[in-house]
Amino acid sequence: MSYGPLLFLGILFTLATSWVGLVLLPHRQMGALGQHTDTNTAAVYPAARSGEAQQGAEHYRSLGCVYCHTQQVRPEGYGSDIERGWGRRRTVSRDYIQDKTVMLGTMRTGPDLTNIGERQADAAWHYRHLYNPQITSPGSIMPPHGFLFDVRAISQAGRSTNALVLEGSFAPPAGQEVIPTRRAEQLVAYLRSLKSSGDLPEAPVKKEEAK
């Protein structure tokens, strides 16, 4: 095989096959996927995120949450995703069309977050968990995200309404309080917006299992 041009063409041709097959064709098949409108209720799924949650998604990206948390629910009978309550149905392509960066993830050092907004709707829980995961989940290896919070002196007017309720060793020094920054608020808005369980023709939610 000493003929240069043949080698050159062969090299280009082989990669061209998967470039067409795994890049261009999927883009044609799914690149224009739109929202689904339920014919009975006229509900549109997936709905657009609020601006606050969209900002939060940028923090989720920037903080690298994806390296320990997936956002995909595998089908029933394949893994235990549904038994663990991570979703009521598998996720499908359409679930992700609102995401600026699709962060499916490949690692479950922490649990899946596809439906965390449904599983844990309490914002106060999320703040405490982000501030120090040991408060809500003792034994977790998630790093504390103290830099998403301000520790400041309690003002004359009294304790701020959005101050974290912290007890024991997690409490700030006397006269101080822990307040979420804007970033923490946006991140929690995003986490609470994570719900991928709308009824879709390609992924129906089983009626008897639906709440």
Partner: protein, 501 residues
């Protein structure tokens, strides 16, 4: 010099052919080629090794953070995700890619039998490249990571890297066109393929993910088409090109079979680039895509077994030389790891296995088996051969070579074997909904600590190597210049290599 018939010529690297000249004339021509490569190849090697040290420190910090989350927790730029991502990008783009390019340049010049053309172009590419990696890794630590695996460097850094890759591809094609040796050796096929494939992959991924992002899960498809092919179509071909070159050179015999090398090359070219979607088994993509990738992954058995047979039969009867030649030792370690990594990869692509191993540390172990135990070891072996030739100095310390080899060999075994087992158990626990998630987390802790220990062994090996390289460079400034090919007592590398220029 080996007696060369026409059939034998096809099985020998271009620079081992007699080429019609005298023995002395050939050696002189080759040392002229080596001298022409000195500055650019040293640039690539040294900046690559600097990134290796940075990547090692980042890896250790990330590893400690995973079992001790409070470690350095107050600095936002050092969160686990940032450090882990900076580690991946420094070792992939800073270290492994730069060593690859250095090795590619030297091999291409040797195999084409011409002194380095356009050294200016290559030096500019190297400069651009290091600026790009610095900006990119800095961006990741500042929180500008794109969170797209293997493509985390922010949009303002990647075009610089793309330009360098394009320049390197142009340079390789020019060298290839100007070649004095018309016979093409198997290593050249792989090298040419790698330098042509990579800019295409990188360019496509940049346009479709960073510049004009595609919608929805098409991003995941492009992401894994790219990320898997960085391994399969960039590092793997350069690693195999090196093994195909250095094993015959060091042991002084031709490769076992020309036909197996043809089959191995074209089956790799045909199947590897379809593998990527096996990273998304069970994910929200059309089944046809995932199935196609699983099939292609299983088809990889053809190139892998072909290459394994070819390398094994080339080595047969020469395993005793592993005792003397550091190049051969690292190469054979890498070649065996390539087979193991590929078999593990094929197995993990199957739906039934992926159900357990996906999302666990098993994948992390697999990545290190491929990128380190195979690729990095091969690159170390190549540097052990190339550096004395381009600097015209012998390795200063055999002790440091041993420390390097045993540090990294034991380190990577201690990394890959326990982590593969742990990942499998972790996956089994995760798939049993009766096991609490936090219990799975607690189960991984002792294993993660063991990984930090493995990382320390790897770090010790790296430090030994860098000291030896530094010492070699100091020797360059000593007034006494030793001849290129010289038999030294106890310097077995030279003894073995003296048979071939």
């Amino acid at each position: 010099m080996i007696k060369q018939s026409q059939t034998l010529r096809a099985l020998l690297p271009g620079d081992a052919l007699t080429g019609g000249g005298t023995d002395v004339g050939n050696k002189a021509a080759l040392s002229e080629i080596d001298a022409s490569c000195r500055v650019p190849v040293l640039f690539f090697f040294l900046s690559g090794l600097a990134w290796l040290l940075a990547g090692t420190v980042l890896a250790l910090v990330a590893s400690i953070k995973l079992h001790t989350p409070g470690f350095l927790a107050s600095w936002e730029w050092l969160t686990f995700s940032n450090v882990r991502t900076a580690h991946l990008n420094t070792v992939i783009y800073g270290f492994a890619s730069q060593i690859s390019v250095g090795v590619t340049i030297w091999l291409m010049c040797r195999l084409c039998r011409i002194p380095l053309v356009a050294p200016g172009l290559i030096t500019v590419a190297n400069l651009f490249y290091n600026i790009g990696v610095t900006v990119g890794v800095g961006g990741i630590l500042m929180g500008d990571s794109t969170a797209i695996e293997w493509l985390e460097m922010p949009r303002y850094a990647t075009p610089i890297l793309f330009v360098s890759y394009a320049l390197i591809a142009v340079w390789t094609i020019v060298t290839f066109r100007l070649r004095a040796e018309r016979h093409l050796y198997v290593s050249q096929w792989y090298l040419l393929a790698a330098v042509l494939w990579f800019p295409w992959l990188y360019g496509t991924a940049q346009v479709m993910l960073l510049i004009e992002p595609v919608r929805g899960v098409v991003q995941a498809a492009v992401n894994w088409w790219f990320a898997h092919n960085v391994l399969g179509l960039w590092f793997t071909p350069i690693g195999l090109a090196s093994i195909y070159y250095f094993i015959p050179k060091v042991i002084g015999r031709p490769i076992h079979s020309y036909y197996l090398s043809v089959l191995g090359f074209w089956s790799l070219a045909l199947f590897y680039n379809w593998n990527g979607m096996h990273h998304l088994v069970g994910g929200p993509l059309p089944s046809w895509m995932i199935t196609v990738s699983i099939v292609a992954s299983v088809m990889m058995l053809i190139p892998v077994i072909t290459v394994a047979i070819n390398h094994h039969f080339t080595m047969l009867g020469h395993f005793g030389k592993l005792k003397y030649s550091p190049t051969l030792r690292f190469m054979v370690f890498g070649a065996v790891s390539y087979t193991l990594a590929s078999l593990q990869g094929v197995a993990s692509a199957l739906r039934s296995v992926s159900e357990v191993t996906h999302f666990t540390h098993h994948t992390i172990a697999h990545a290190h088996l491929g990128m380190y135990a195979f690729f990095t070891m091969v690159m170390f072996g190549a540097m052990y051969y190339i550096l004395p030739r381009i600097t015209q100095r012998e390795w200063p310390s055999n002790g440091l070579i041993s420390l390097h080899f045993w540090g990294v060999a034991l380190g990577i075994v201690l990394y890959v074997v326990p982590m593969s087992i742990m990942g499998f158990i972790q996956g089994t626990m995760l798939n049993d909904a009766a096991v609490r998630f936090l219990d799975v987390v607690q189960f991984t802790l002792p294993w993660l600590k063991l990984r930090t220990l493995a990382g320390l062994l790897l770090a010790a090996g790296h430090i030994a190597f860098v000291i030896n390289v530094g010492w070699l460079l100091v020797r360059m400034f000593e007034p006494y210049r030793k001849p290129v090919v010289r038999i030294l007592t106890g310097e077995a590398e030279t003894v073995a290599a003296a048979k071939l220029p």
